[in-house]
Symmetry: C2
Subunit: 216 residues, 2 copies
DNA sequence: CCTACCGATCGGTAGG
DNA sequence: CCTACCGATCGGTAGG
């Protein structure tokens, strides 16, 4: 595919200061971003299966064949949405490099950050439940994602255990399964009634119950 | 509505011993039950929104207008499915009369029983996430259901606390929120990979971590 | 990026 | 309980 040719409006210096895209592809990339955001929202609202390309396209002000020009099909749009969210998460937490107790603190921070972005919470909550079905296009994605997440948290618990920081009888891997489950379950209650639950506080309190010394 | 008139086949004594329905309404009630079971399964597989009345009807071997003869519309079918499951649950656990530690043991039993009925687990897991959307027809149902469940579990924790059976620093209500969240989150991981998680064992271990003495 | 269209499928109703 | 149908909506494609 050839780069988009510059048109008069986009090279007009008076407009160039007001509108972001100055060279080829930039406009297309911005449009892609708009579509991904709208898709994230709608997938979170009604799930993947019930979301329509027409509704997403309408929210960004284009036709649905226009949307399909940017993403080959509905499944590819879903894959792009998930990849887009992973990029963001990796950039913020995955590469934080924290280990042991520091990693648990980062986990609590992640939960607190999620509470400030309900759209993301909805996306994962609704899609993970929907993807429970083996035929769902994101089934493998979530299966692998949980395996990786649980393994990572288990490693942090094991590290804390090695330093004697874990209460007696706490198994690192089982504790990891439970922490991840707790985070997911809290999201359901929180989305149903946000005044009822403080997700980050609950996760922190749960973790403190597993540690010899509270996270602080 | 008038009761169904008995027809020759149903009053034939030779058949009456083989086929269940002997008097009016019985056949209709059996059909309703069939429909509710098929709807439970499909709602669990793809959620309420993506489930079609035609698919449910086909699984029972009738037409979809035939299904609508038993249930006025799709929303009423959903309400009937939820009420049907509540009846079952109340009959088995709600009225068990257990309190305090006994109630927690009954909770672990409930989780173990759920692991033997994946269809029910799927139903609640998928529908509760879907019903997170305020416009969902089951939104209020799940909102109220969680409020009731959390309150009931909190009461049991409070009772245990009054007898000094709760570890120091454990708040009955917060502990209840977390136990319910844990159960929900475990279901997602279990449905994604049933070999990875023992739901009942995890709930029991979690509870033991809150109690002065293990449930035993 | 658009309009126009494809075949398939949806919940619900008419009428028996 | 059925067939036949309604208007609406779906993902995707043709062709520009």
């Amino acid at each position: 595919m050839a780069p988009v040719r510059t048109d008069p409006a986009r090279t007009d210096p008076a407009r160039a200061d007001l509108v972001a895209p100055r060279r080829g592809y930039a406009k297309g990339r911005a449009r892609r971003e708009e579509i991904l955001d709208a898709a994230t929202t709608l997938f979170g609202e009604v799930g993947y299966r019930s979301a329509s390309l027409r509704e997403i396209a309408q929210r960004v002000g284009i036709s649905h064949p226009g949307l399909l020009h940017h993403f080959g099909g509905k499944e590819q749009l879903l894959a792009a949405v998930l990849a887009h969210r992973d990029e963001r998460d990796d950039h913020r937490f995955g590469l934080s490099g924290a280990r042991g107790r520091g990693a648990l603190r980062a986990l609590v921070e992640l939960v607190a950050d999620n509470a400030r972005h309900p759209g993301i919470v909805e996306l994962y909550c609704v899609l993970s439940a929907e993807a429970t079905s083996p035929e769902h296009p994101a089934h493998r994605y979530f299966r692998d994602r949980y395996a990786r997440t649980v393994a990572a948290v288990a490693r942090h618990f094991a590290e804390i255990a090695a330093e004697g920081g874990l209460r007696p009888g706490v198994d690192p891997r089982a504790a990891a399964v439970r922490v991840v489950a707790l985070m997911d379950g809290l999201q359901v209650q929180w989305l149903l009634d946000r005044t009822c639950v403080d997700m980050a506080a609950e996760v922190r309190a749960h973790l403190d119950g597993l540690l010899v010394e509270p996270l602080g």
